[in-house]
């Protein structure tokens, strides 16, 4: 639980509902709030709904993880955010909320800070009839399915945690925006998204009210409707220019080097490792490999070895699985086969 801080930062929980905003503004508005809170504005709960679909990548991630050609054709802008996580597809059927507090209020351990700042959201979901829980990974879930995408970060002296109410969700689009090496990998990602992500179409106004009550209770602060300060409004303009620039988007530009990794939710992932002209695709649940399958291009004479590898990798953790798959792929003697979908699928 976060401590009550009535005496500090204005003694209120400022609540700002930005309503519907352009994709760019749906990012820059709440980032400006973070800069404001860092400089003394009250702790703030904000809401925003993107007016059109787009793609966002986390602070430390590369645009190479996004299928930029597809996004270009589909008219999906791509913006880098200042909080964590991978590439995500956002659209008007997702209501986003951001809780922003002075950094000194949050527990120093990141995992604890996230849990503290997400727990009120879980109670808000429950209040609108969604049987949500915060699981051991820190995901907001119903049973084992993620119902809210979240990410956190420190912006100057403010900590912000972002989440969403997913009213409707398109797994096909969520998988399609990713830069993946083969349609089979995309199919597997989409299959896992369908299984492990769940829309919970609660009434958005009821959810906003519940969220406001829940964060106000957790912080011990009375909620008060507010608006951006002059400083924050000026910061929105600056952030519009920054977030719209190629320099910011490409600030991190490492391309995948033969290994692709997609986290569906904490503990659930799909990983593809290049092996010659083919791939080995491994899927993990509860942190352990549950499925392994080759896709194209494995040399026929390596199939026996591959079968042994597949058996050996099942049950391994992600790091161990990737290490073994990469080591197998680096052995040139196994890479001589021509692209052969039929041969690969035979294993």
């Amino acid at each position: 639980m976060l401590p009550a801080r009535m005496e500090q930062a204005g003694g209120i929980l400022r609540v700002i509902d930005f309503g519907e905003a352009s994709p760019l503004r749906s990012q820059t508005l709440w980032h400006a709030v973070a800069y404001g809170v860092s400089r003394g504005a009250p702790a703030t709960l904000s809401f925003v709904r993107p007016a059109a679909p787009y793609v966002s990548i986390g602070r430390t991630r590369s645009p190479w993880e996004v299928d930029l050609a597809y996004c270009g054709r589909a008219g999906l802008p791509v913006y880098r955010r200042m909080v964590g996580g991978g590439p995500v597809y956002l659209d008007p059927r997702q209501l986003f909320f951001q809780i922003t507090v002075p950094a000194r209020w949050a527990p120093p351990a990141r995992q604890q800070a996230l849990r503290a700042l997400l727990s009120p959201a879980v109670r808000a979901f429950q209040a609108v009839g969604v049987p949500a829980a915060l699981d051991s990974y820190g995901e907001v879930v119903v049973d084992d399915r993620k119902i809210s995408g979240h990410a956190g970060g420190q912006v100057e002296e403010a900590v912000v945690v972002v989440g969403n109410l997913i009213e409707e969700f398109c797994p096909e689009r969520a998988a399609r925006i990713l830069n993946l090496p083969h349609p089979r990998v995309r199919e597997e990602v989409e299959r896992r998204i369908r299984r492990y992500v769940l829309a919970t179409p609660a009434n958005p106004e009821g959810f906003k009210a519940a969220l406001t009550r829940s964060y106000a209770d957790a912080l011990g602060l009375p909620p008060q409707a507010g608006e951006l300060s002059a400083f924050e409004r000026a910061t929105v303009g600056e952030l519009d220019r920054l977030f719209g620039s190629r320099r910011w988007l490409w600030e991190v530009d490492g391309s995948p080097k033969g290994t692709w990794y997609v986290k569906i939710r904490a503990g659930v992932w799909v990983c593809a490792v290049q092996v010659g002209r083919g791939l080995i695709v491994a899927s993990g649940v509860e942190g352990r490999v549950v499925d392994v399958a080759p896709v194209g291009g494995i040399a026929p004479r390596a199939r026996d070895g591959l079968a042994g590898l597949v058996a050996g990798v099942k049950g391994a953790g992600i790091e161990e699985a990737v290490r073994r798959l990469q080591a197998w792929g680096e052995d040139g003697s196994r890479l001589a086969g021509a692209w052969s979908r039929a041969a690969a699928l035979a294993v």
């Binding site: 430390t60 991630r61 964590g84 351990a109 990141r110 604890q112 996230l114 979240h150």
Partner: protein, 153 residues
């Protein structure tokens, strides 16, 4: 591990270097004008499992208190705050390609950057040095974190 160490609870601390008490970073002078920077064991523990590391490009000039990079753990991104002013002259490629090394070997292969600095004499006052002082501070930090429930018993 080389150099002198002290044990505080289950943590082994290198005391041949300076510490930034606010951000749990160590600062090791490697020449008259160059320091190496890395996390201390408590900094590593509160970060959690590290997923991504981004460091400022070589040549970037940072002032003490400014970010020289970002670190992501559990979908939470935090700044890496420079303990001294200087110019980034080396990034650790091992940590960049495998941030887990920061957790596994924070004093060795898990270092972060090297800064060229002429400010250390002036900024030394912000840092802790000396085995006794470092151990006392670290013990207090461990206790404070334990009281807050940040550390497992």
């Amino acid at each position: 591990m080389s150099g002198s160490t002290v044990r505080v609870g289950r943590y082994e601390l290198m005391v041949d270097r300076l510490y930034d008490p606010e951000h749990h970073l160590w600062v090791l002078p490697v020449s008259d004008t160059r320091v190496r920077v890395g996390f201390d064991p408590l900094g590593v523990e509160v970060n959690g499992t590290l997923a991504q590391l981004v460091l400022a490009p070589l040549g970037t000039v940072v002032r003490r208190g400014e970010a020289f990079g970002s670190l992501e753990a559990a979908k939470f991104v935090g700044p890496l705050v420079a303990p001294v002013s200087g110019r980034v002259v080396a990034q650790n490629p091992v940590a960049l390609s495998n941030p887990a090394r920061i957790e596994q070997d924070p004093y060795g292969e898990g270092w972060l950057v090297e800064l060229e600095t002429t400010e250390l004499p002036a900024e030394r006052a912000y840092l802790l040095e000396g085995a006794e002082r470092i151990a006392l501070w670290f013990r207090e930090q461990v206790e404070a974190y334990r009281r807050k429930g940040v550390l497992a018993e």
